[in-house]
Amino acid sequence: MKFLCVDCDRQMTFEERQLPGDGTLAVAFKCPGCGRVIALLTNPFETQLVSSLGVQIGGRTVPAQPLETVRGMVATGRDDAFEDAGRGADEGGKAPHPAWSAEAQERLARVPGFVRGMVKRIYSDYARERGITQITPAVMDTARAELGLEEM
């Protein structure tokens, strides 16, 4: 899927992705010539179809997690199916793991157990890569939109 600004005859570039939280997806594309922005809006069915391919519109911003599609899409998983192995405080010269605010922990606790470990890891990696030392609900909201984490 590509978008062409017909007036400028220029291929439009990915600008931003938004997840309103109702299963729909909004992806903005911008013409590098005239600056015009258009939005691609998908319904829940179309969003799901993209998710089921295991790809992300706008490109990947964090590495794929093990069984990412399984954990992200299966609705009938066991809460205790996975044991997410802990990681050291500082591996390979990476930044230390961020702290979680009480509000962020509360929000994380509401994520189904089947996918919680993966969600925690994704937010943690997101924060570390950006030098964020504490994860708050605001950080989670930003990450969720940037990374395209539906229902997380």
């Binding site: 899927m1 998710s51 295991g54 093990p66 299966v74 009938t76 998983g77």
Partner: protein, 258 residues
């Protein structure tokens, strides 16, 4: 007004969807680089005992020191983990993938049965009313992740226990760097033979290598010569005839022929 076509737009695309798909394929190939042989166990017919045969063939090979894994590709009727006594317990998530459970005789296994809540069917998030459109793609993605995201380690044989029908085999063949070897299970009846014939032919048309036929549930109420008929038709051996109550040496002999 002339609008340029899709292929004429060649500027770099940040989404890089083809590259993302390619990366998925590379991940599969890298994971399977440590697997000496991949054997898909198939049948066009349901209820012929594919999982039972798969698990016992795997155990027979493991008992003689082979490193063996079972990937349960029957996502909607998974049984391999229970048959291997590895249904309970949690799957450990490591940096390099999911650690498979270790079942009877040391056979490694990953199955949807280990992941689903008790008694619940496999269901995906999203609008259920339209799920018939994307469910196939979602199941194919699960299969891909079971291959690519499980830290199978070095294996002599990875069995893939397929559900009845052809769809999952085709998804598997699409994923793999090379067509798999197939082990075909039938019961003696002509009806089973007909269904297996179609499935086996489809597999061969996709370039699969047929290892042979296993005739299951012999010596009981099922009459027929399906295994011999298929063997003659396709020029492949009948590797084993499994009675209703097989002894351990039945499986050991099968293991020797694999």
């Amino acid at each position: 007004m002339r609008i340029r076509t899709y292929h004429e737009l060649t500027e770099p695309d940040r989404s890089g969807l083809p590259a993302q798909i390619m990366a998925q394929r590379q991940r599969v190939a890298q994971r399977l680089a440590g697997v000496e042989r991949l054997i898909a166990v198939m049948s066009g017919k349901g209820g012929v005992g594919k999982s039972y045969v798969t698990v016992h063939a795997a155990r027979a090979l493991a008992r003689v020191g082979r490193r063996v894994g079972v990937l349960d590709a029957d996502l909607n009727g998974p049984t391999a983990a229970r048959l291997l006594g590895a249904r309970d317990g949690r799957l450990a998530v490591r940096e390099d993938g999911i650690e498979p459970a270790v079942g009877a005789d040391g056979v490694r296994v990953v199955s949807m049965d280990q992941l689903l809540a008790d008694g619940r069917p496999l269901a995906f998030r999203g609008p259920e009313a339209e799920s018939f459109v994307w469910r196939g793609a979602a199941e194919a993605a699960v299969l891909r992740e079971f291959v690519a995201d499980v830290a199978w380690g070095a294996l002599d044989v990875l069995f893939v226990d397929l559900p009845p029908g052809l769809a999952r085999f085709q998804e598997l063949a699409e994923l793999l760097p090379a067509p798999p070897a197939v082990l075909t299970v039938t019961i003696p009846t002509a009806e089973s033979g007909d269904a297996v014939r179609r499935a086996l032919r489809a597999a061969l048309e996709r370039g699969a290598t047929p290892l042979g036929i296993i005739e299951n549930m012999t010596g009981g109420g099922f009459a027929g010569t399906a295994a011999d008929d298929l063997a003659a038709e396709f020029g492949i051996p009948v590797l084993a005839r499994i009675p209703w109550h097989p002894a351990r040496d039945t499986w050991d002999r099968l293991g020797e022929r694999l």
